[in-house]
Structures are given as structure tokens and as C-alpha cells.
Symmetry: C2
Amino acid sequence: MKSTIKDVASLAGVSVKTVSRVINNEPNVRPAMQDKVNKAVAELNFKRNPLARGLRGQNSFILTLLYSNPNPSYVLELQNGAIEQANNDGYNLQILPCDHTNENLIDNIESIITHSSQDGFLLTHPLCDNEDIIALLDKNNIPFVRISPFHQEHSSPYVLSDDKQAAYEITKYLISLGHTDIAIIKGHPDFGATHKRYEGYLEAMNEMNINVDDALVKQGQFTFESGEVCARQLLTQDHKPSAIFASNDYMAAAVLKIAAQMHINIPANLSVVGYDDAPVSRQIWPSLTTVKQPIYDIAKHAVQKLIRHIKKQEFDDVQSKFQCKLVLRNSTSPKL
Amino acid sequence: MKSTIKDVASLAGVSVKTVSRVINNEPNVRPAMQDKVNKAVAELNFKRNPLARGLRGQNSFILTLLYSNPNPSYVLELQNGAIEQANNDGYNLQILPCDHTNENLIDNIESIITHSSQDGFLLTHPLCDNEDIIALLDKNNIPFVRISPFHQEHSSPYVLSDDKQAAYEITKYLISLGHTDIAIIKGHPDFGATHKRYEGYLEAMNEMNINVDDALVKQGQFTFESGEVCARQLLTQDHKPSAIFASNDYMAAAVLKIAAQMHINIPANLSVVGYDDAPVSRQIWPSLTTVKQPIYDIAKHAVQKLIRHIKKQEFDDVQSKFQCKLVLRNSTSPKL
DNA sequence: TTGAAAGCGCTAACAC
DNA sequence: GTGTTAGCGCTTTCAA
């Protein structure tokens, strides 16, 4: 049977409180006592009952990861990093998928936070830019950490990857290959990443004094289908690009499809870059030059930040910024 | 503040036990009482504290989804279905990723089940064919439902999709297009699905009296890279196939890559089919003819089965089998 | 530095 | 049909 704190106490010949002190690393316990308790804990293979702990104390040691994101590999990497770190720190992670376009979103979330007990929230974009959600968490005094927010006014801590810088670099890379007619397919306007990536693109173009023709800027939605539409426009209009920066890999894959249908050789006659290093970027031919965000590390760090925030212990910067990595593959080549 | 059962009791002017009876739908409460309690519950927006409930009762209302699977879209669909159904039935779902190749797998799982409280496990393949895990759960008397097991001897309930039938159908489809030199790239031998899909292929070939040349049967690993290796062999050896059945979409995508490099036109000169309806099957050109498993429904059903199993209430079949759907896209065409 | 006792919110057991 | 009481395993007073 499962051992309880009482079992440990009687085996060690001390009071339950002393056991509690030892397992919680509280001060004021003599080393001799600690040894006795630790031995008993080991012998009985004792672990605290998290339910009882949560019921008694004011914290449940449950962290909630709230997301609304159609990118499975992104979400899974986020989950894995967050679970890893949470477990390391003695927390459980509750996974909470939701749909940011759902009308009842706020009500759903409210029902969850009012009637279960989580110590904190991890909010991914685009949810972390939703003012109603933020207001709700603030109202209920629930600590949260935002992952990749676009708006950064709020005083809560956040973690992000330097999307603008990465977009700048990948655009510079295309320019370094000799391209000047570089089109961009933007992402969904609700996502902060969309704007940051566009800014990085613009900065690189401006810095190199390359004029950005409006006709080379297309509004996508981050979906494969939107990528197809934009690619078809770009490759049939008067001003045709020699390189296309798609704001994610799904849309970049769509460019490859349209190019194949039009018998445009990639990368010989058209260079294409994506963003995210999604599985498809490796599963397609030519494989995509793209940008890899350190999602796993971001998630781990966000959990650490959240726990610090919950414990109000150490001082921590409000912002943590992670650098992305360019991944050079086969969809780009020097301009002929 | 959060309301408790006591608040409800005093507002309704009844005892806590009566409130407990009402919120748990127990019998022997007069309608008038029920009304009073329900009104108070609504007014206070009361919800049970799951921690207290779990601590007191012998069940925690936590179900654990244990998986070890490199396919993000599969895992996420599974999660979503399971979460949906669990929440509907008043359970929480704990997500537990693990690595089936990890040496300490059993110890890790044992540490989890010994010292936290879950009412039941959902086991996906290949974990559900791991005898050590099954023995561990049996030893601890934890109910579990297996998802897509290969070995079906164990008496615990399981849910699966009819992989053999789907593989049979997609092979028949290729045959119906006039193909006879149909190669198969098998999946990782540790996965039950690998064998079922191979069986379905063999059955279709045998039924149509088509001899299966060993040279057309390649051992893959479900990875893109293994698909590349097999495709290169198939397309360079003496006996070249006119159609290839890859046991999943990743490997099918790899076939497309190798074919592109060898300037083999798909589907005109080579038909390719995959399995799983993974995102890549839509993000690649030509898009893949493949098989869609009803993963979401399988997950929901598995949760229902698990809850019934936990409650030992209704009789339920040990096996639930779901049919897959052929998805016809652009990677297949009649043999020239 | 240590321990006894109370109680978190709920449900099971038992009384009425 | 309804209420009282005990106690799940733990941590938090507060006293020693």
C-alpha cells in the first residue's frame, strides 16, 4: 500500500510535523533528525499525496498550459518542455486546449479557473494578447506567464523568441544570395508573430536600400491554403519575385506546390524560405530553408519564470528573449 | 471567494450531506430539497473541489493518457478527443509523454502510479504491447484501456482501427488502377500497425492472385529517412514497382522526394499511397492518397470505455473496432 | 528545535 | 429521507 506521512513518522520515531519539515526543506531540524526521516522516506518509498497537499495548502501545484494553436508540432514541443520543467520542480502540468475563435472562450476559461485550483497559467499567443483573458486572470489574482506576446505593456512576465531578428536574418540571407525582388507572405493578423516577422523583413530590406513593392507583400493566414492563394498571385502577377519569404512552413510548402504546378524550378528559378522548422520543412523536396525557434527551451523557461512568479521569491526580469536559428536547406540558391 | 459545500448547505437550509447527495445525483432526496439545493448551487456558482473529492473518496477523477509516439498530429488529435470526453464525464486528463525506448521506462511509470492517484490509464501503442507496463498496471490494480494494441490476448478492453482492412482496401485501390508491381514499405517492427498493414496488403495481393516479389517488400521504420532509403532501393533495383504503398505518410513523402530527384513523375509514372492522413499528406505536391483513422473518435471512445471499466458498471465489449477511410488525392493514377 | 491538534472540502458510514 | 460525525493526508497554527 501507499505510505503516508504517518507511516514515515512512526518508522522514524518522530512527529509528523518533523517529517513535514524535512520533506519540505524547512529550517530548524537537526541533521540527526533529518537523517532518520530521510531513511524512513527511502525505506517506505514515500511520496507526498499531491491531493492532500493541495487541499490543505493554498497551492495545488498545478500549472495550466492554455493554448489555441493549429500547429501540432509547435504545441507538442511546448507541452514537452513545460511538462519536463514542471515535473522537475514538483508541479503538475494541466494541458488545456481551447479555440481562440470560440464565442464562449472567456466563459469557458472562467469556469475552469473559478472551480479548480491552479497555481498559475502559461498563456501562448494569440491568447496572451487577449485582453479579456488577461483581465480575468488579474481579477482572480492568478499569476501567469505569457509566451510570445505581441503586446508587451502588461506588467506580467513573458518569454519570447526574437522573431523580428530571425526574420531580419533570413531576409538578409536571401539578399546575400543576390535576391532583391523578395516577396513576403504574411501570417494571420491576429498573431503577434506575423507583425514581428514582417518588421524584420522590412528592416532588412530598408537597411539594404531595397524598395519594397506593395505587390510583393501578400496577406496570408498561416494556413497552407492561404499560402497557395498568395503564391499563385505572386507567381502570375507582373512583378514576379525571385525569392519568397513565407511567414511559416505551411505557407512555404504551399509555394512549393504552386511552383511545381507551374513548372518553376526551386531553388534554381525561385528561392523559398519558411519559418518554424515544422516537420514538413524536412518532409518535402526541396527541403525548406527556415527558422527554428527554441520552443522546448522557451517552454521550460516559461515554467521556471511562472514558478518564481508564484513563489514571489526571487527577482526576475519581466522579459526573457530567446534567439532563433537559421536552418539552411535546399529551397534557396543564389540568384541566377 | 470560492463557495464550499457548507455555504451551499447553509444558504439552502439543509445539511451538507443533502447537498452532497444532490450534486452527486444520489437517490433518496425529495424533489423540493433538490430544488432548494440546486438554487443555492446556482446562486453561489458552486463547483466541487476536485482535490477534496479525490482525497476523500478512493477515486481522483484523473485519467492518464500515456503515449510514446513521434507523430505530433496523431498525438494531438488523440489528446483532444480524450480531453473532450474526459471533461464531459467529469474527469481530468493527465497527459504523460514518455519514451518507449528509455531504459528506465518502467521505473518512471511505476514512480508515477505509486505516488499519485489516477483512476485509470489510456495506453497507446507501442506501450500497450509492453508486457512490463501491463504487468505493472495489473499489479497495482489500475484499470486501463489499450489503444491500437497488436497483441490482444490480455483481458483488458481495447480500441482499435481496422488497419488490416484499410490496408487491404488501399492495396485493392491500387490494383483497381491496373497496378500489379506494387511495393510496400513496412513500418517499424515494434508497432502493431506495421504488421496489420502488411497483412492487409498481402491479403489484397493474394486475393487478386498477384505474386508478391520479396524485392518489393522493404523494411522501413516509419521515419522519413527510412522511407528515403527504401524508396531509393525500390526505384533503382531491377524489379521496379509501378506503385508504392508506404506504411505511413512520412515515408510516402520520402518516396516523393526520391522520385523528384530521379525525375520520376508522380502519379504519371509512379503511384504512391501513404497512411495516416498526416498534415504533410496535404502540404506536399502531389498531395497523398492515404488512409484516415478516426483518431479523435477512437480517443473519445477509449475514455468512455475506461470510465465504464473503472465504474465496473455496464457490461461492455472488450473490443471496439473503428473503420478507417480512404482519402483519394493526387499521388495515384491508373497504370499507363 | 520539536510536537499536538486543528482543519482544508468533501464523502462514507451510520444514526435518526 | 435526512443529518451528524469522522477522517482522507497533509500543512499550519501555536504551544512546549
